[in-house]
């Protein structure tokens, strides 16, 4: 053979390898397979913003979803800096509720639970049970929420807990219809390791409604929630880790006498055009639009709304041209409202953690255009799981498909593809207490 074939063969090999490695470039992974799914050795849960004696004391409820007992080392951290500890062993599929005020005195509390193993989830609730938020399993470096009010009769706070051994530093920026501000007092705020503090938004935004908050961690990581007391209605808003162009609110009340307002904040320099799609029974409802100026906030009343009939629960999805922060404020007309964050798409969730009174609505929304199947199984049950098939962008009432779910019995929902779960507690008018499901991982 001659040199020509040899050179051609070399060139072909090089070209093939070059094309292969160029077409499939490697990316720096932000996660590795098996995260949280494979027998965790230890986990931690962080709850913050639990109201103390100044309000009706809140509580934390732990639920062991694992098939074996778990030991918990619980620390209650008051905003005063005092820490109380408690060790608890949770049997399989059992709950444990802790009221921090029974251990320490303070205005707000954070609870840190170290779990030997995994499978324990927790949620915090206000004393009235009118607001429930899941506890976090990790800190975050950014946090956003909107819809806060510091008008007369209302107060709003951001409660921050540092879950790490590193002193954290963060900045807070505020948005409102009046524009953007970075209050001096909220810049370079330091949180010692394993400490909790809260920021009174009224110190920087006096007598304003629809306040958006953006928290950026400069060092370390934090767990943050928004706490609002609107005319006596206390709510805990878990917020969002980052603004997004899409958001889902699977259960939005349209009941008479109720109010539901979609709060939107645009934390960026580009004007936001927000399209709100409402799915309500067999009604064909035209999309609603909100224009939000840069670094500003806006709102859209979903209930009452002449374009949206009062005909039960609506599934609302939000799509924006730029990342925005969205929240839902619900309450009785003429009274204070509670804030709730959009439901994040997840592949597993737990319901039935805290509401002893059960649920008023449990709805699953498929955020994708392709059909998905959701498995629903009662914790501790040996029976076969129920399978719910959702068409693209479809909505299913879990309470109808699984009758026991409404009672508050714990169920684990899982799917290969993300779904969105929305819950409301029984209330009058219906649907004004929106709850967040627990992260099933």
């Amino acid at each position: 053979m001659r040199r020509g074939p040899l050179l051609i063969a070399c060139a072909v090999v090089l070209a093939a390898v070059g094309v292969a490695v160029t077409l499939r470039p490697a990316h720096n992974p932000s996660a590795y397979p098996g995260g949280g799914a494979v027998a965790p050795q230890s986990t931690a849960l962080y709850c913050t913003g639990l109201p103390g004696d100044a309000h009706r004391p809140g509580r934390v409820t732990f639920l062991n979803t694992a098939a074996s007992a778990r030991s918990l080392e619980i620390e209650v951290v008051a905003d005063t800096g005092h820490v109380a500890s408690r060790s608890v062993t949770l049997a399989a599929h059992t709950r444990y509720a802790l009221q921090p005020t029974s251990l320490e005195a303070g205005t707000f509390y954070a609870v840190l639970a170290r779990v030997a193993g995994g499978g324990v989830v927790a949620e915090e609730a206000t004393g009235t049970g009118a607001a429930v938020a899941p506890c976090a399993s990790a800190g975050t470096t950014a946090w956003s929420a909107t819809g806060f009010s510091t008008a007369v009769g209302s107060s709003a706070y951001v409660s921050v807990f540092n879950p790490t051994a590193t002193a954290a530093v963060f900045n807070v920026s505020l948005y409102s219809a009046a524009g953007f501000s970075s209050p001096q007092a909220f810049q370079g705020v330091s949180v010692p390791a394993h400490a909790e503090l809260y920021l009174d938004l009224a110190r920087a935004a006096v007598d304003l409604r629809g306040i958006g908050v953006s928290l950026r961690v400069l060092r370390g990581s934090l767990v943050a929630v928004g706490v609002e007391d609107a005319a006596g209605t206390l709510s805990i808003n878990p917020g969002q880790a980052s603004p997004a162009t899409r958001a889902h609110f699977p259960v939005v009340t349209t009941a008479r006498g109720a109010s539901a307002v979609l709060e939107v904040a645009d934390p960026g320099p580009t004007p936001a055009v927000v399209r709100v799609s409402v799915v309500l029974g067999s009604y064909r409802i035209a999309d609603q639009f909100i224009d939000v100026a840069p670094y500003s906030t806006g709102a859209l009343a979903l209930t009452p709304n002449p374009a949206i009939p009062a005909a039960g629960y609506a599934a609302v999805s939000v799509r924006a041209n730029v990342p925005v922060v969205t929240d839902l404020a619900t309450g009785a007309a003429g009274a204070g409202s509670a804030l709730s964050a959009p439901s994040a798409p997840t592949t597993s969730a737990v319901v039935g953690g805290v509401t002893s009174g059960g649920y008023d609505a449990l709805r699953i929304v498929n955020p994708r255009s392709r059909a998905i199947t959701v498995r629903v199984i009662a914790l501790g049950s040996t029976g076969s799981p129920a399978r719910l098939r959702l068409a693209g962008h479809g909505v299913v009432d879990l309470a109808t498909a699984v009758p026991g779910a409404r009672s508050g019995r714990p169920y684990l929902l899982s799917s290969r593809r993300p779904f969105v779960l929305g819950l409301t507690a029984p209330s009058r008018p219906a649907g004004i207490v929106v709850l967040a499901p627990l992260d099933g991982r």
């Binding site: 090089l14 160029t22 990581s221």
Partner: protein
């Protein structure tokens, strides 16, 4: 029985006035060949011709043709009239034959079995000047002479040989061949009929030879324009147009259809370029000729098809075989470039015609016509042109020595701050321990690497200690020696590699190219001493491999008979040479085991290249056996490391290198340039690659065989680097930089061979693209040096002045109980060797501060350090939020996450960034017992809030641990009844001696040993002591012994005979 000579009929074609007809006929009549008949085929008025013929010889036959259809048609007609002839001798009417021409041509035809024989054609007026001695043609149908223009006949061409074209004038053609070919193509009325006939004859398998002893003088009056052609179809076309169109016809029909289309496409491009040049020179005649030829071809497309069918019917040779008979390249374009280079553009494109005066002194400057034309008037020269003289630059010893000295000075300037400046802890520049400590590490039963290991110490310690002996124990000098001298030594090796293959000048350039290859300089910048050893040694090893594998030209003399080990002459025997190869590999592998992979690639590459292009003279046939031999013997010579590999299990492939993050591995374009760092990452990095590629193509003969092997090795190396870098080969990921070092050797070798090809091989072939490539190579090499000079500015080849590791020195906790620092980062940025956690993340530890000489080498087996690796993996997967607690038993006080080995300082030092997986940062942020102490662009430092020292003690009734003992010495007071926990593995390596008695040791299912301190009154004193059988020491001793025996085997055993016998002065001789 009558023995008659074969009948020859001379067909003389004449067109009035034909002033040389009488002379032609007279010379034919005077031939000494008895069986010669002469037939004159005349165009035009028959009476005049008959009279002139009769005046010479009334016996000559005359045939008149009414129409002048050209020379070919006339010959066909003449041949048709003749019966019984064995040969036809087709003659112009302006030739003069020597009396023995016919007999010599016939003799040659019989002797060579040729179908067509052509004589040596000399100038009609001066028979000392050669005109044609056969001709050749390229694939585009352009005919070229095989002699210099105006070449004087000294008998230098008097050798019978095959030619491709028998030029017209006098041509002897075997009658049966002529019939089979159906004669000349009558469509070719003038110019080109000889090419056509010969092309078809060659295709039909007939030989065409030149018989130089047959001498014919040829006036070439029509070709020179002295006579106008009156043939039909030629009146409206110039001679250039005729020649071009006939060439096109021959090419279009002379190849298979597919090849013909391809070649015509190339020819169209060339003609287009020629048209542009002609237009620039306002040469409308040339433009017209080109346009006419293509237009004519389009008109003749049916004829083309018919000719091709006819040719296919007769074809014996394939296109490839036919092409092999021709001259390569494009003759016309080649000639243009020659003129362009030698005489400038105007002369090349023909604007400046040669003046008579100029032609005397510039005899080869034929201007316009020489560039593109085949007009034979340009064959007239007074003196032959001198052959192109090779450049004398760098050809003398003095100039070469001057360049070497200059390069040494430049290198010294570039490395000036490496000699005495501060060396940062990057790469493998952690300060070595003392000479004695290094020996101790080699023999030690326990090493502090990771969380401690009882595995045999890597043999790198032994090699380092031996090297330290030569610098009188000044171990700090070794790193500087490697940084400063590795590349120059490698360059010397490159010179040796190229020895006997190319001239000293080419060797010098190859060596300089090796110094400028990015790999070496990047390794200096990154402090990779291990790879620098490979950079220094690989050219030597490559030469040795080539020699052992009998690559042409590398084995200077055949191996002699086997010589017993240790006897004089054993070194030069085959076994000795193989063992020398093994020793060189061993030396490199002691520092960078991936060098074994590099050697394997060389062996496999040579074998593969031979599969494509066998070396006829090579007797080597067992590459796989050689590969096994080398691998086995290296494993024996590196016995401790081999043991480590054997027990490492699935981690064994890590001996060749740790898995780098695919996102940190250079992209394929960087790999092609051999770049893994900041040096060479810009556009000029392509220059050496381009020069090497051209070199690979230019080489011929023996050099070509070597170049082919280097190309295959380079290809394999790049493919392996790219595939393993993406983890497509599993956990087998040889050190990328070692592979790039091999690639660099291949590049520099090819550059050297390319320069050698410029000097030698190009002179052996005609001018063409190769010469253009030569100019390119030289330009590239000159430009490639410029960035290299720019890199000298820092005086340390961009080696940082400070490292991240050093800047963290102040973060040390209390030294009570000792502490460890956990280093996490891409394996290429860790300041000390480690183990893979996940691809792109490696882990290493240092004890009581910064890394040092004790962990300069680690084996692939992580041992108990797997506990740390598992903890980090669990954190990465979100399985734990208590990483600090998991690391605390090992005494990890600090976790340093490195994104770069040194801080980037804008305008001061450049450092390649190789970020850790983002998942790690997220995972560490989730840990509740780690506090982030420091964040910079190149590192994050976390403190472990649960740190309790490497050795800790819990008092009775308490679970709280507190550090005990000092960092330097594991001894001190203890609490009676307490429990001592030691983060020292393996658990059975240490014993806690309390007041002279060993405490009870348990492991409680952990990797750490727990010692129960006996209860008693008052504090007691305890000490942790190593308690292991010195197996590692014995292994190290055996290894040293093997090294000594092998070294002594090179003739020294025999020389040291007196040591054993007491006899002095007797020279040992091989049996």
């Amino acid at each position: 029985m009558e023995n008659r000579a074969p009948a020859v009929v001379a067909v003389v074609v004449t067109t009035p006035p034909g002033p040389g007809l009488e002379a032609t006929l007279a010379s034919l009549v005077a031939q000494d060949y008895s069986e010669l008949s002469v037939l004159v085929v005349a165009h035009g008025e028959p009476t005049e011709v008959s009279e002139r013929v009769a005046s010479v010889d009334p016996g000559v036959f005359v045939k008149s043709l009414e129409e002048n259809r050209g020379f070919g048609a006339a010959c066909n007609e003449g041949a048709r009239l003749v019966e019984g002839a064995a040969f036809f001798l087709f003659c112009h009417d302006d030739v003069r034959l020597h009396p023995d021409v016919v007999s010599r041509l016939v003799e040659a035809a019989y002797r060579t079995n040729a179908g067509i024989v052509t004589p040596k054609i000399v100038d009609y007026d001066d028979e000392m000047v050669l005109v044609h001695v056969g001709q050749t043609a390229d694939r585009f149908g352009v005919v070229r002479d095989r002699i210099e223009r105006g070449e004087v006949d000294h008998g230098q061409q008097d050798l019978e040989r095959d030619v491709f074209v028998a030029p017209g004038g006098v041509t002897l053609v075997r009658a049966d061949l002529f019939g089979a070919l159906r004669g000349f193509d009558p469509a070719l009325s003038l110019l080109g009929e000889d090419l056509d006939l010969c092309w078809r004859a060659q295709s039909a398998g007939a030989r065409i030879v030149v018989a130089p002893l047959a001498v014919v003088a040829h006036r070439e009056s029509i070709a020179k324009g002295e006579r106008a052609s009156a043939a039909l179809g030629t009146r409206h076309a110039s001679r250039a147009a005729l020649r071009r169109r006939h060439q096109l016809l021959v090419v279009a029909s002379g190849w298979h259809r597919r090849n013909a289309l391809w070649i015509l496409a190339q020819l169209a491009v060339l003609d287009l370029a020629e048209t542009l040049v002609a237009l620039a020179g306002a040469d409308t005649e040339r433009v017209g000729a080109i346009a006419h030829s293509w237009g004519w071809l389009l008109v003749q497309r049916r004829r083309v098809r018919a000719r091709r069918r006819e040719l296919e019917r007769q074809r014996v040779l394939t296109d490839a075989e036919l092409a092999r008979l021709q001259v390569a390249g494009a003759s016309r374009a080649r000639e243009f470039v020659v003129r362009l280079v030698r005489e400038g553009f105007d002369r090349a494109r023909g604007i400046v015609p040669p003046s008579p005066a100029a032609s005397l002194e510039d005899d080869h400057s034929v201007g316009f016509a020489a560039a593109f034309s085949e007009l034979e008037e340009f064959d007239e020269f007074i003196e032959p042109a001198p052959p192109p003289r090779p450049s004398r630059m760098l050809s003398s010893f003095r100039s070469q020595a001057l360049v070497v000295a200059l390069a040494a000075i430049v290198w010294a300037i570039g490395a000036r701050n490496l000699v005495a400046g501060h060396l940062p802890i990057v790469g493998r520049l952690a300060p070595l321990d003392s000479w004695w400590s290094t020996w101790r590490h080699f023999f030690a039963s326990w090493s502090s690497a990771g969380v401690g290991t009882g595995a045999p110490a890597p043999p790198g310690f032994g090699v380092l200690a031996l090297a330290g002996t030569f610098v009188l124990g000044r171990m700090g000098v070794l790193a500087r020696v490697a940084l400063v001298f590795a590349i120059p030594v490698g360059a010397i090796g490159m010179g040796r590699l190229l020895r006997d293959k190319v001239s000293n000048r080419a060797r010098l350039i190859g060596a300089l190219a090796y110094a400028a290859v990015p790999t070496g300089l990047n390794m200096v910048a990154q402090g990779r001493l291990d790879v620098l050893v490979v950079v220094a040694g690989l050219p030597f090893v490559l030469r040795r491999v080539f020699e052992v594998m009998d690559v042409p030209g590398f084995r200077r003399r055949p191996y002699g008979p086997p010589v017993p080990f240790g006897h004089r002459g054993w070194r030069t025997s085959e076994a000795g040479q193989r063992l020398m190869l093994v020793m060189a590999c061993t030396l490199m592998c002691a520092f960078a085991p991936a060098a074994l992979v590099a050697v394997g690639l060389v062996i496999v590459g040579v074998a593969l290249a031979r599969w494509f292009e066998p070396d006829a003279a090579s007797g080597f046939a067992h590459p796989w056996r050689l590969l096994g031999f080398v691998a086995f013997n290296v494993a024996v010579l590196l016995l401790p490391l081999s043991v480590d590999v054997a027990v490492a299990g699935s981690r064994a492939p890590a001996v060749f290198g740790l898995a780098r993050g695919p996102w940190n591995v250079p992209g394929f374009s960087y790999l092609l340039r051999g770049v893994d760092g900041t040096f060479g990452a810009s556009w000029w990095g392509w220059l050496l690659v381009g020069a090497a590629a051209l070199g690979a193509v230019l080489c011929r003969g023996e050099r070509r065989a070597v170049a082919s092997k280097l190309v295959v090795v380079a290809t394999l190396t790049l493919a392996l680097a790219a595939l393993s870098g993406h983890h497509w080969l599993g956990s087998f990921e040889p050190d990328l930089d070692v592979l790039l070092a091999l690639y660099g050797v291949c590049l520099a070798s090819l550059v050297g061979l390319g320069v050698g090809a410029l000097e030698t091989d190009l002179r052996a072939v005609g001018f063409g693209w190769r010469q253009g490539a030569a100019v390119l190579i030289v330009s590239v090499l000159v430009v490639a040096v410029v960035p290299f000079l720019a890199a000298m500015g820092s005086g340390r080849f961009d080696l940082p002045t400070s490292s991240v590791a050093e800047s963290l020195g102040s973060l040390a906790p209390s030294r009570a109980g000792g502490y460890r620092v956990l280093w996490l980062g891409d394996p290429s940025v860790l300041p000390t060797p480690g183990w893979t956690v996940v691809p792109g993340l490696a882990l290493a530890t240092s004890t009581n501060g910064l890394p040092g000489g004790a962990t300069a080498f680690v084996g692939p087996d992580a041992g108990a350090t797997d506990a740390l690796i598992g903890a980090v993996q669990a954190a990465l997967r979100g399985q734990t939020v208590d990483l600090g607690a998991l690391l605390a038993p090992a005494g990890i006080s600090t976790i340093v996450v490195l994104d770069a080995s040194a801080p980037e300082v804008a305008g001061v030092q450049r450092v390649p960034r190789r970020p850790v997986p983002r998942a790690l940062t997220r995972a560490l942020a989730r840990q509740g017992d780690l506090s982030l102490e420091l964040t910079t662009s190149s590192a994050q430092v976390y403190a472990n809030s649960l740190f309790h020292g490497v050795v800790a003690e819990s008092t009775p009734g308490s679970t709280t641990l507190r550090p005990v003992f000092s960092a330097r010495r594991f001894a001190g007071p203890l609490e009676p009844g307490g429990t001592v926990v030691a983060g020292l593995a393996p658990a059975d390596a240490f014993a806690l001696v309390v007041d002279g008695r060993a405490a009870v040791r348990t492991t409680q299912g952990e990797w750490t040993p727990f010692y129960a301190v006996p209860a008693g009154a008052g504090r007691v004193r305890g000490a942790l002591v190593v308690e292991r059988f010195p197996l590692n020491g014995l292994l190290a001793l055996v290894t040293l012994g093997i090294w000594a025996i092998v070294a002594l085997g090179f003739g020294w055993i025999q020389r040291a005979e007196w040591l054993f016998t007491g006899r002095v002065g007797r020279r040992a001789r091989p049996r």
